[in-house]
């Protein structure tokens, strides 16, 4: 791919033997696909329930805060174009091993919980197609298949990545087409777009709740740091593609939420587990509703699969990095001889997600919500904290490792983004104080792991040294 043109930067110079393969366009679609799948299909109903017909405003604000966080990532990635992401930046800025380790553990647990809840979302859309198998079986098979796919390495295909992103976009465009059709028929009541219905809660809290929920629909963009090292001309193309992808996703989200508000009564949206499906079910387009519903379910399945795949690629990669750094046992760094995949890490990630799903079914409800959903919501606190910390890191690292080619995020915007992240974090804790206990519990597990490896860690490094001597 890099062959088409030979850019003049030193990075891509053929004689130096360095070739990078990901173009700005591919990175754009990677970001878009990663962000689009994560939550819009499920979250839109919750946001509508919190705010009322004007919930697109909450989406606009949430998406903007996420995009500002994206600019901090873009600045750091252009400074340190390596695959380690947030953990690397925090390590650079604060130099604290414990903090770095805890960030990694937080990120990992957020990723596990997110994969679990995505698998649940997959099962609920799947049941609209075929109601036969129990949800648990569907989720387990889903996770197992994705693990095998990652082991073989099918995900490495740029073509499949692009295709899935196009399918995701097509689903959301379908929603927009329905809305435009509805408007042209003259049935749309634009009054609903400024209708606040926040129930008993104070309007500012309601909007904050909506903003927080819509912010969650943007998570996933941080995974693009995965491919930073292989991006052609990263100083120019990375900020452009990352922020461009996020803004595009944001615009699509706002339009889709407007479309949903116009076509479906807010109560119906709020009460539906698969809210966007309701838009298709209205039968506004003169096509067979049954067929359209099925088509849309398939699209939603593809969208969820795409995002879950990226999560399942990221987890073993983090484990691999930690094994190299000797903070987790060396086996996580084991690479399969033929496939060159970190098979122990892959198996472990798959097993953890499956374990979560099984336990979640056996213990159906914790404090009124299913366990996996609960964990997903709790670990979002970690993500918010990491995002806020990344913005702080970005500001703190100003002046060090400066490179004139590096992208520089707008400072006032960063401060607004930091404030936004902290507000959402504050709201989440205020709304749900017990989540702090959960976070403390998960972090405690992390600390115990750290101490165990700290005191007994020398064993694993000696075994890996032994393994190298084998031949």
């Amino acid at each position: 791919m890099a062959e088409v043109s030979t850019p003049t930067t030193s990075d891509v110079e053929d004689d130096g033997g360095l070739r990078r393969s990901i173009t700005g366009k591919q990175l754009f679609f990677y970001t878009l696909g990663d962000v689009l799948g994560s939550g819009i299909y499920v979250l839109i109903g919750l946001v509508a329930a919190a705010v009322g017909g004007a919930f697109w405003i909450a989406f606009a604000v949430g998406v903007s805060i996420a995009a500002i966080t994206g600019t901090a990532y873009a600045e750091l990635v252009t400074k340190y174009p390596q695959a380690a992401g947030a953990a690397l930046y925090v390590n650079k800025a604060f130099g604290s091993r414990v903090l770095t380790f805890l960030i990694t553990v937080s990120f990992l647990s957020a990723s596990f919980a997110a994969a679990g809840s995505l698998a649940g979302g997959f099962a609920s859309y799947f049941s609209t197609l075929w109601d036969g198998p129990p949800a648990l079986l569907v989720t387990l098979v889903f996770v197992a298949v994705l693990t095998v796919v990652n082991f073989i390495g099918i995900t490495e295909s740029v073509v499949i990545n692009m295709l899935m992103t196009f399918v995701e976009l097509a689903g959301l465009i379908l929603v927009l087409v329905i809305a435009v059709w509805y408007i042209f028929e003259g049935n749309a009541d634009f009054g609903v777009l400024v209708d606040f219905d926040t129930g008993d809660t104070h309007w500012s809290l309601a909007i904050l709740a909506g903003v927080a929920l819509s912010f969650f629909a943007m998570t996933g963009f941080e995974n693009t740091a995965n491919v930073a090292e292989e991006t052609i001309d990263p100083h120019k193309s990375f900020p452009r593609s990352l922020i461009g992808g996020m803004v595009t996703a944001g615009v699509v989200y706002v339009l889709v939420s407007m479309a949903a508000a116009l076509t479906v009564p807010t109560d119906t949206l709020a009460g539906s587990p698969a809210a966007l499906l309701e838009v298709v079910r209205t039968g506004i387009l003169p096509l067979d509703t049954g067929f359209m519903t099925k088509l849309f379910s398939v699209i939603a399945l593809v969208a969820i699969t795409n995002t879950t795949l990226v999560a399942i690629v990221t987890q073993p990669r983090i484990l691999y990095g930690m094994a190299k750094e000797d903070v987790v046992p060396g086996v996580f760094g084991k690479i399969h001889a033929t496939r060159r995949s970190p098979w122990v890490g892959l198996l472990f990630s798959g097993a953890v997600v499956c374990g979560l799903l099984v336990v979640g079914t056996l213990v159906p409800a914790v404090e009124g919500t299913p366990l996996v959903e609960r964990l997903a919501l709790v670990t979002v606190l970690f993500l918010l904290f990491i995002y806020a910390l990344v913005i702080v890191t970005c500001l703190k690292l100003r002046g060090t490792d400066e490179d004139e080619r590096a992208f520089r995020a707008n400072t006032p915007l960063l401060l607004i983004g930091l404030l936004g992240n902290l507000l959402i974090l504050g709201w989440s804790v205020y709304d749900d104080p017990t989540s702090l206990l959960w976070c403390a519990g998960l972090l405690a597990i992390g600390v115990v792991l750290f101490l165990v490896e700290y005191f007994f860690g020398s064993r694993s490094s000696s075994t890996s040294a032994g393994a190298t001597k084998e031949i």
Partner: protein
């Protein structure tokens, strides 16, 4: 003749390089290019098993797959030190089979040397082995070095 030696950082790829050296005539080889391919979308884009164990744990900063590919190519290139032909290293990224074939075409290579993994179930059941795809569409002869049958204890 220009020879491409591919490495994926595995010990088998080092064995393949040694195998080439064991029988080929250095006088007939003008250049050897050691090629490593980074797979950006894979969980681990490049793993280097050839680096000497430093004993010191790596830093988070060093999770650079490019560095891993770099050290793997150097380790393989070291096999040909002082053998005669000019040795150069190339790191590419993308799909391994495609990139090896492209490298062979660009260099107008006369031979490509690749390692094949285990003779096991995984090779026959799971599709898309790099060695198979390279020998299928390379522009020149391909030497596929298979692992020795297990007689040494593992």
């Amino acid at each position: 003749m220009h020879v491409i030696v591919a490495t994926d950082g595995s010990r088998q790829s080092l064995a393949a390089a040694k195998h080439l050296k064991s029988f080929a005539d250095p006088a007939k080889i003008t250049t050897i290019t050691v090629v490593a391919v980074i797979r950006p979308y894979a969980a681990v884009a490049f793993a280097d098993d050839l680096a000497p164990a430093s004993g010191k744990p790596a830093d988070f900063d060093s999770l650079s797959f490019r560095d891993a590919a770099d050290s793997a190519t150097k380790a393989v290139a070291a096999v040909f030190d002082g053998w005669g032909p000019k040795v150069q290293v190339r790191i590419r990224s993308g799909s391994p089979a495609n990139e090896i074939i492209k490298a062979a075409k660009q260099a107008d290579a006369g031979l490509v040397v690749v390692a094949a993994g285990n003779r096991g179930l995984s090779d026959t059941v799971l599709l898309g082995s790099t060695a198979q795809r390279v020998q299928h569409s390379a522009p020149c002869p391909v030497l596929v070095v298979r692992p020795a049958p297990r007689k040494r204890k593992k």
